[in-house]
Symmetry: C2
Subunit: 213 residues, 2 copies
Amino acid sequence: MTPSDLIASLHWRYATKSFDASRKIPADVWAALEQSLILTPSSFGLQPWNFIVVTEPAVKAQLSAVSWNQPQPTDCSHHVVFAARKTMDDAEVDRFLASTVAARGGKVEDLAAYRGIMTGFVANAAKQGWLGEWAVRQTYIAIGQFMASCAVLGVDACPMEGIAPPEYDRILGLTDSDYRTVVACAAGYRAEGDKYATLAKVRYAASDVIQRV
Amino acid sequence: MTPSDLIASLHWRYATKSFDASRKIPADVWAALEQSLILTPSSFGLQPWNFIVVTEPAVKAQLSAVSWNQPQPTDCSHHVVFAARKTMDDAEVDRFLASTVAARGGKVEDLAAYRGIMTGFVANAAKQGWLGEWAVRQTYIAIGQFMASCAVLGVDACPMEGIAPPEYDRILGLTDSDYRTVVACAAGYRAEGDKYATLAKVRYAASDVIQRV
């Protein structure tokens, strides 16, 4: 992709308020967006997340009702819910190490030093009370990568923090799981006539947000 | 960009451990990456961040020293520091509204209802003690969009949470500012022979991280 194509894509995107409910994301495009979720970078590679992809109309309608009655979950093609792990423990580190060995070969024992760094990190974060928030931050990397991926593929998206996470958890069956809803993003195609599509983008000037050292 | 090109780009990227210190990101490519920072979506559009782009060799070396002596800040082309606002207040909301009117026309008075929603949000978040973390989450959207943008432009990157934010703040003169260092990302080009470049990517299976509803 050229630099100017990237700039054009990122200018083209906006927080879509009105989706065309008749348009669905094609399978090959969705497959790439799903890969963008799976391939999101994370701290240590620990991937403390689950992504719930909602396409079932009845569930989408339920989620709109607990998203301040905004229509995006209902009218979009794929409504993605970003859920973060509630806790981490040594078993979760070991699950990751097993996955590493499955991908790269070698033996788990050879990763003992790396294991120690990660379990030490997890124990320290848990003790200091920011382990849950650490996982949340990682899910925000995922929504950032997802929105950029949507933009370069010409898919519209609307990030949604204005949702009721406990209600999402209840509807999606997460309440007693290891994960909790953090944020959501509706993806699909803008409706013709969404007035927000043509409004000028509002961003601070480079001189206000970029410092060069 | 085609779906398969996006997948290829996201597979190509990895957390670059060894940068080729002789290679700099061309000006037109950097300009697009800087736009990806500026254009990052944020909650209400409030952009509670600053991005410090470090290219000065002496400062880069100082930052490596407070990044567990990792070489990436020194050897990369552009070391980007993601800083979040420490606080928000009504004046900051008004700064944003002035920026909105400058971009879109109209009068600030016409945005009174929107202003009320935002100042209410800020007051509530401050009272409940999560305003600072809210700003941090937004900066993680930025690093997610930035890493994806690097990938599609063929620029290597290394996200770095293993840094000493207070030392970064001191070196970059942020200590008494409205912003604080949260996370960093080195950007540039991988060195030939970085052994991490050829390791298989480790990710959980789609069936482990994606739930379809």
